[in-house]
Symmetry: C2
Subunit: 340 residues, 2 copies
């Protein structure tokens, strides 16, 4: 089969890779209908995350089940499925508490690489959710977002306790941040403030439900937000970048007793204990337990309540994956969808 | 009046200080019945927190109201009162959300110094809670704990979401940690594990409701706890020290999706963002909003459901405050009560 392999910083190639096969009796093999490039794929693409050897890429996927292992019970060949970027058994104590990305049997789908024609999905029953039937073509991009970027933005909003009566601020105007806006709107937030300097992203944020746009960053951004909120800060802040500056902007934008939901993969972040202590905020985040939200998110997409697929502003055949990475790296695209 | 003043590391003196008087119409003057030495008083006592000039000490207090300002409505002369270590108006948006220690008009009682015969308490209506009547002498130590050390341990347990079915671990066997044990028990925790190496503290922890004692610290302590909890870690961890080691021990002792309630005043702590991100824990803490809990805690003490005053294992006249500090510094005493 054909699949994307990163050979080094900036060096994306589409190559022949071995066809996946059932390894464990709990595996499924899927034919990937659509995959995409994640903001977190840009960390190794930019050389911030180092790798010594060529790495298959991709952890977001929707597709059709080709084959299942002997012990797979709820997923069957022919199902159209959406899965999380972590495989999980969905039965252990941690999964049952809603933290499937930290399942005691968790496996990282990123190590498998779903920017490819086929993929082996471990723990199929606990990882994949079948749609009610074959989806209309127009729903596929939105279903694909549920696999990570929507699930992650949603978790950020849930972790930040976005809800009725709340002012929610969003740090980061990438696809995760934008879908954090959509999530906050769905969860009933009263006011949604997004920090953004890019006209296209501001526009999509507004479409997804943002009520206010702020153009400053860091402590200037915090000052702008405080002016909007009677000096107090937001009740809920979604952090969707993962840098020291964005984390401190998120913490300082949150009122005492408020909640920071942080879902940007942390890079080089060290949180000062004294400031955190006296801030009085709640901090929660990490790799989103997407599986927790999949049934609900698929439902919202299926009945056309939400249209998160709008974050894809570039669609390419799998063979042109390199251009998909470049466009995101250069901020010419918010998010690239790849068609194997 | 007589009051405690810290002149430098280890230099505690009891001196004549100016009698307090009403400054704002929202003030009250109280005659201090009992005060005490806080674990946080040991930071400046040990020279870890620097001060250039002599500092009046003490922020925990119970007493009888002598006089109130013109605008004080709910507190009157003769009331026996317990107050928080932060003055708060208890009416602003932050107070109403339960974060009175970050009230928009908050004032630190530590700057006033309650290890003294009298004290001026700002924002009396929002800071002080009157007991149902004059307390029996035997209740005074317990009521005094509500002013900070019990309220702080309680907040740690609430922030860690201690409750029915939960395994709660407590890092720190000082008075706050021990009262965190008591709080976790009251909140219905199923299992309460305390890290402690001191026989007297282990005994009091057990009396307050601890079910398990672990004697290792740091990562060895984490390993011991994981062995007790099927490899998963505790649902809830109360951090009551404030050092880098204790914070990391708390975070690493918590299962993914679990809650760390941290109430030890942070000193020199820097939390590694990557580890925190992948831990998947909730983090909440800071200066306890004691005022939120005062009515409930006074009720539990008044009807003798709890006896937190047992943390005082040394009682001295105010004039002997220096010995009270020394005994705590040398761990000869868990907590010192001072009688003005």
């Amino acid at each position: 089969m054909r699949g994307v392999v990163l050979h080094g910083p900036g060096d994306v190639r589409v190559e022949d890779r071995a066809d996946p096969r059932i390894v464990q009796p709990t595996d499924a093999i899927i034919r990937v209908t659509a995959a995409c490039v994640c903001g977190s794929d840009l960390w190794p693409y930019r050389g911030v995350d180092k790798s010594d050897e060529p790495a298959p890429m991709g952890h977001e996927y929707v597709g059709v089940v080709e084959q299942v292992g002997d012990q797979v019970k709820t997923i069957k060949a022919g199902d159209f499925v959406v899965g999380s970027f972590f495989a999980s058994d969905n039965t252990c104590e941690i999964c049952q508490a809603g933290y499937q990305s930290r399942c005691v049997h968790a496996e990282l789908i990123g190590a498998i690489g779903t920017q490819a024609q086929y993929a082996r999905i471990p723990l199929a029953d606990g990882t994949l959710v079948a749609t009610p039937g074959p989806p209309d073509a127009g729903l596929v991009p939105s279903l694909l977002t549920a696999s990570d970027v929507l699930g992650t933005g949603w978790f950020g909003a849930v972790a930040a306790e976005a809800g009725p009566g709340k002012t929610v601020a969003v740090v980061g105007d990438g696809a995760v941040g934008l879908l954090g806006v959509l999530a906050a709107r769905q969860l009933g937030a009263e006011r949604i403030v997004v920090f953004s300097r890019h006209a296209d992203r501001q526009e999509l944020a507004t479409e997804f439900g943002a009520t206010d746009i702020l153009t400053e960053r860091g402590d200037q951004g915090v000052t702008q937000l405080k002016e909007l909120t009677g000096g107090l800060g937001a009740h809920s802040v979604i952090e969707a970048v993962g840098t020291q500056q964005s984390m401190m902007q998120a913490i300082r934008s949150t009122r005492p007793g408020g909640h920071v939901g942080y879902v940007g993969v942390a890079h080089g972040v060290a949180l000062p204990g004294e400031e955190l202590f006296f801030s009085g905020v709640h901090l929660h985040g990490g790799p989103a337990p997407v599986r927790r939200f999949l049934p609900e998110l698929i439902g919202l997409i299926w009945d056309r309540t939400i249209d998160p697929g709008k974050v894809f502003d570039l669609e390419l055949p799998l063979e042109e994956a390199a251009e998909g990475y470049r466009a995101m790296d250069e901020r010419r695209a918010i998010k690239t969808l790849l068609r194997p």
